[in-house]
């Protein structure tokens, strides 16, 4: 019969304790030496960046055709629904009849007196009376929509773009009430049946979500200019408002420009050269 002395018991217990302690330590050392790199999230190297993005629209270079092209380019690329589009009955059966008062728009043309109600002079230059002024989200410095949004679905990005996280929008439409420019549209119904050609590079929206211009954040991230700039034949320039050397600042320096409803203090980032 084996009889254990206290000494031999302690010895075995000690060795066992060291062994137990060693395993985790070894594992830790082993995992460290593997050097599991931390995953990293980065910007595309080609991405265009700015301290504060802004837009200059030269109204002298705009005409009806260019305006139409710009609107079309933007709306097709961003899957903006057109409620005049005839619904494909096969693909979307049981689509309710359309209320043609509804519209969703990111960029559109407006008469001078609607776009600039505070600048309507008695003897306004004749050319302004007929010119379609392109209006869109102004990406205001003090954006009231951002303050109104209860879920932070609308927020101001570091580079000045007022952006929407469609995932978070609950459709309360406070932002639409807050925006003095009417730049926001609400999806009263599923927009998909009314998208003539779905662009696979951009998601659609769903029912119950507000949408607006995103200054083509998805294109700036790839180092490309926004769709409106590309379609504008030089009439629209997008750049960094806080860089005195940038193209937008040079244009603003050389030309007289106006902004919409400046007296409200939202500090729009879209300038119009007139």
């Amino acid at each position: 019969m084996m009889k254990k002395s206290r000494r031999s018991f302690l010895r075995v217990a000690g060795i066992a304790a060291v062994g137990l302690g060693a395993a985790p330590a070894m594992n830790f050392a082993a995992s460290d030496s593997h050097g599991t790199a931390k995953p990293m999230k980065t910007k595309n190297k080609k991405a265009l960046t700015a301290h504060r993005w802004g837009m200059v629209i030269d109204t002298n270079k705009l005409n009806d055709e260019i305006v139409e092209n710009i609107i079309e380019a933007c709306h097709i690329a961003h899957n903006v629904p057109d409620f005049d589009h005839e619904v494909d009955e096969e693909k979307y059966p049981d689509t309710r009849p359309v209320n043609h008062k509804q519209e969703v728009k990111w960029i559109w043309d407006e008469h001078f007196h609607s776009a600039f109600p505070d600048k309507e002079d008695e003897f306004l230059a004749e050319k302004f009376k007929h010119l379609g002024f392109l209006v869109t989200c102004n990406h205001c410095k003090n954006a009231p929509c951002v303050q109104a949004c209860p879920t932070q679905a609308t927020f101001k990005r570091e580079d000045g773009i007022v952006l929407m996280d469609f995932h978070r929008c609950i459709g309360c439409r406070f932002c639409m009430a807050a925006c003095p420019f009417g730049s926001r549209s609400f999806n009263f119904r599923d927009p998909r049946p009314f998208i003539p050609e779905t662009n696979a590079d951009f998601p659609t929206r769903s029912k119950g979500v507000v949408e607006k211009c995103n200054l083509c954040a998805e294109r700036l991230a790839k180092g490309e200019q926004p769709h409106c700039v590309e379609a504008s034949q030089g009439a629209i320039v997008v750049g960094d408002l806080e860089d005195p050397e940038s193209e937008v600042r040079v244009l603003l320096n050389e030309n007289y420009s106006i902004r919409r409803k400046q007296s409200l203090g939202t500090e729009p980032s879209v300038y119009y050269v007139v």
Binding site: P39, R157, D159
Partner: protein, 131 residues
């Protein structure tokens, strides 16, 4: 006297309480479907995380990606295994669907089995479906 009532009562009780088990014994249970990898995914071999972590945590990963893309404008993800991906569900070659080309066999089969109904596709589009 009451013995037979009590015994029958007990037997009925046991049968009723264990009925889900009897039900499962009689009916055939469906095996969980295996997500089917497209040829492209098989060839690539490496996903963002390893297989088991991906299975358990892809939803948190997608959530993290969404915040990163929308809020911070960071759209490239370099995974711990050194591969980099475009943080996008469906746009481009380097996105989720760019590699896992068949949404029905890869996403939907498991989601249907698990009876989860993610609303990703209310907005995000499957490029294959558009054509």
């Amino acid at each position: 006297m009451n013995k037979k009532y009590i015994i029958t009562g007990l037997v009925v009780f046991v049968i009723v309480v264990l009925s889900p088990f009897w039900f499962n014994l009689v009916t055939k249970t469906q095996a969980a479907p295996e997500p089917e990898l497209s040829a492209k995914a098989k060839e690539a071999k490496k996903c963002v995380l390893d297989k088991y972590e991906m299975r358990a945590n892809h939803m948190s990963l997608l959530d993290e990606w969404r915040d990163s893309v929308v809020r911070d404008a960071d759209r490239m993800y370099t995974a711990a295994n050194g591969h980099s991906f475009t943080m996008s569900l469906s746009t481009g070659e380097n996105s989720c669907l760019g590699c896992h080309e068949d949404k029905a066999k890869f996403c939907d089969s498991c989601h249907d089995y698990a009876s989860v109904d993610p609303y990703c596709w209310e907005c995000h589009t499957n490029p294959k479906e558009i054509e």
